[in-house]
Symmetry: none
Subunit: 206 residues, 4 copies
DNA sequence: TTATAATCGAGACGGTACGTCGAGTCTTAAC
DNA sequence: GTTAAGACTCGACGTACCGTCTCGATTATAA
């Protein structure tokens, strides 16, 4: 599997894979995609920047996208203090906070460029999509649903909801606007999405 | 502009552009993307399939994505009987109908493959995104908002809504699931999205 | 055919092949083989030195050896004043003169290196051998046999000889020594070969 | 030296070199060159076929050609009953016999392919050429000259000949024709070479 | 009605990157 | 200390397309 790597915690006789080459490749991939953009990214460029033979990349990753994906994985393993979503007891405020932070990230070219690259690769390659779902998508989705369940326990959320639908309702508008650049991505938009989703579209009964 | 083309209804002295080559190129592009997938699509392949010199493509389109985009435009001009969304007076039923139809389309490889290709090109290329927004995105969005405004007049929808947010709330979950393959795309899902968006996430009072 | 090239004397509508690229490639090949040796010669190196795309080489030549061969052909077309062998009426002197000149050439690294490279390619590749035979080998052999026939008319050579055998008898010892480096290649050796071949190995009858 | 190997008759404490690996490598090299041709031969292929690590080859041989050369040496040590050339008292018949046998060998692909490979390596690599000369070329040449000296003693050969020239005169035509494929290699050709060399090219005095 | 200039098909050109192969070096674990 | 195994860096392979650039050969106005 492309994203497998030698963990120090694993078996005694580690594979002969070079950890330093692995790190150099992932770092080079992440840096390069920012510098030259997604379409300017090439295996040859990554190898050369990383000071590594092309074969070493082909040996361990099946595609350019898989390298990029692992580069993200490596980064995301650094900042995993507390992966849980905020839970202050005020769902609307908490969601708005999270969505505003996401908006800020997506507006920052340092994240936009490589994330877009990865997203496109995932959209193109079903195998990569499956790996992504397993390693990042589902865990993140679980976190979101956990927060929603907490809200249900607090009576802030209806009990009869399909939480998968709810997650999409809240998060996909941002994703869609970002990817398609179909409109400005602002805090106001994030707030609007949260408020509208929570209150629904129908007039409130008096 | 890439998507400009000689309309018989335009000025008297039409350009010397060959209409038959144009159609052959767009048809070839659309057919090829289904056969060989997006990444297998090449200008060279389109030219050869269309029986056309490469220069004829480069002369009229700035990128592979622009060709693909025009191919879609050509198709979508065939089926434009009544572009309006259904309006039976029952918003929930109408939205569910439209979203179910979209689900069916997205599940059909004949649409999935070229649509995905086009979507990826748009996500990659801001210029193409702008053209897309102008030519297809905004008109479609206007149609959706028109239906929503009708619902507001009928008292089915709150008056104080940002309709751009509402459109995203209703349509982006499908888009997101489809593009990322993050879950099954079913009629039930479409129904769930519509119902949840309309009713909101909060417990109903009383 | 690899060695075909646009001749100004040929048909009116010349191919679109670039004569300047062709010359640059052949010159680069000839120069490079002297600088880096045969095994250091690469298509990539030739292309880069000639300022040409690799495909331009692959388009017109089937192999590295074919390029080298044409490089020789190009050179040999410069010095074609009178291709005939000397004929002073003294066969032994004429042959010795020719063989001594050959010895000098073979001892000159400027000729030895590329000639050796070409010879090895010909020995390896039967197709190239056939081309070589047709374009260079047989014409040269014809020249030699013409000189021998003249000697027969002059009574210097027996009438009942297979001239192909004679040509080999005279010229192959040099070739063999040169290629295998099985001994020093000197004027004395050349003289010895000529004298021994002419007089034969048997004791002269009294 | 590449062609050194542990002889059971040598010093008491033999080197730690694995004799079985050595034989496996040489056998694999000889077999492979027949199967895949010279240019298809690779160290990697030999190692894999021999069930041996690449390093084991690099440790003991300096080049692919050296391996091939030792493979020949190994074979030629099997058939060394009497290495002397036939000496029936009739030089012409004896030479014709030997040359005809050589012709047959060179026409047999089982010998042609690996011999050609080795010959090309020797022609390319002066160091290998020196080793070859010492181990195979000069002993064979000595044998030939021995037979010629015997003919001189019998009065069949002139006394004033440079035997190195004579050896080349008799044997190099075959070598040249074979390597360059410049003509058919037949018994008739062999006979012609012997007869012409013996009788010389000049008309016999009456 | 002709000439004339934009457009056409074709495809060669200099390039970049692909994914593969093998070279020769180095490291590991087994013996 | 040698071995089998195989990862490593490096460089070349031959192919696919890129986007640019000539080439005649249409071809449809404008003279």
């Amino acid at each position: 599997m492309p994203t497998q790597r030698p963990k120090s915690t694993s078996t005694a006789h580690a594979s002969r894979r070079s950890e330093s080459s692995r790190r150099a490749i992932l770092t080079a991939a992440f840096d390069l995609v920012q510098e030259v953009g997604y379409s300017g990214l090439s295996i040859e460029g990554i190898a050369s920047r990383a000071g590594v033979g092309k074969q070493t990349i082909y040996r361990w990753w099946p595609s350019k996208g898989a390298v990029l994906f692992d580069a993200f994985l490596m980064l995301s393993e650094g900042d995993d203090g507390d992966p849980a979503l905020p839970d202050t007891g005020d769902l609307q405020a908490d969601l708005a906070l999270v969505l505003r932070a996401t908006v800020d990230e997506l507006n920052d070219p340092r994240y936009d460029v490589p994330m877009r690259a990865l997203t496109l690769e995932i959209a193109r390659d079903p195998a990569l999509a499956a790996t992504y779902a397993e390693r990042l998508g589902e865990p993140m989705s679980a976190l979101k649903k956990e927060r929603l369940r907490s809200a249900q326990r607090a009576g802030e959320l209806r009990e009869d909801l399909d939480l998968d639908v709810v997650v999409d309702l809240v998060w996909s508008p941002l994703f869609s606007r970002w990817l398609q650049r179909s409109g400005p991505l602002t805090h106001a938009y994030a707030d609007g999405v949260v408020a509208t989703a929570l209150d629904g579209l129908r007039p409130r009964l008096r």
